[in-house]
């Protein structure tokens, strides 16, 4: 906490709030990984961290450094943009792959492909 010593009280408290909210939301999201029963349900959970959790913590950071350096420090926006752009890519590819795997194993929990009888491994 070497540089935060100059932070005014309101900023400190607000930052604390943002950070705590963000961390809590992220924790809840990750908790979802434990609590949710199947992969397709679990895949929703981390989104909490990549949306509200992240934005909240980044907001805390923007606030803190803008006040500290007495100028708008907003480059955290970039992180938000990047994460928002990239997380869907990961999740989409991952869920689709999981779907493929489940289908080839003949799982009944997933919607079947149109020509399911062809999904047998080649001899």
């Amino acid at each position: 906490m070497n540089a935060a010593g100059t932070l005014p009280a309101w900023a400190a408290l607000l930052t604390a709030l943002f950070v705590l909210i963000g961390a809590a939301v992220t924790l809840i999201g990750s908790l979802g990984l434990l609590r949710l029963g199947t992969f397709y349900k679990r895949v929703h959970a981390p989104t909490l961290g990549t949306t509200l959790g992240m934005v909240s913590i980044l907001a805390g950071s923007v606030l803190c450094f803008s006040v500290l350096e007495a100028r708008p420090v907003v480059h955290e926006i970039l992180i938000a943009v990047f994460v928002t752009l990239t997380t869907p890519v990961t999740l989409m590819l991952l869920v689709r792959a999981a779907l493929y795997r489940d289908r080839t194993e003949g799982s009944t929990d997933v919607p079947a492909a149109e020509v399911a009888e062809d999904l047998i491994p080649p001899a």
Binding site: M1, N2, A3, A4, G5, L7, A9, W10, A12, L13, T15, A16, V19, L20, G22, A23, A24, T26, L27, G29, S30, L31, L33, L34, F39, R42, V43, A45, P46, G49, T50, G53, M54, I57, L58, G60, S61, C64, F65, L68, V73, H75, E76, L78, I79, A80, F82, V83, T86, T87, V89, T90, L93, L94, V95, R96, A97, A98, Y100, R101
Partner: protein
């Protein structure tokens, strides 16, 4: 308790929460059961780690750690994408 001390405690609590979040992700990483669960765990771990870095920046009052977080934010998904594609197609670059 001064507001600054509250901030200090808040950040430490936040870091502990993020740490716990990472532990949750690690559970999926270690326990699976399927490969996709592990990859999802890794992806979550990356995001949590990135947030941890941001809180660390606030904690030390330094913007020097920003780029590390930025790199995770921008490029962290590449390895997960590669893993996911490997699951789906059996190879990363076709």
């Amino acid at each position: 308790m001064s507001p600054l001390a509250i901030l200090g405690w808040a950040i430490i609590s936040a870091q502990v929460m993020l740490g716990l979040a990472m532990c949750c992700a690690t559970y999926r990483l270690v326990a699976g059961p399927r490969a996709q669960d592990r990859i999802l765990g890794l992806d979550t771990l990356y995001v949590n780690a990135m947030l941890m870095l941001v809180t660390f920046g606030i904690r030390t009052g330094s913007t020097l750690y920003f780029e590390a977080a930025l790199v995770i934010g921008l490029l962290g998904f590449v390895s997960t994408v590669a893993l996911a594609k490997f699951l789906m197609r059996g190879e990363v670059i076709e």
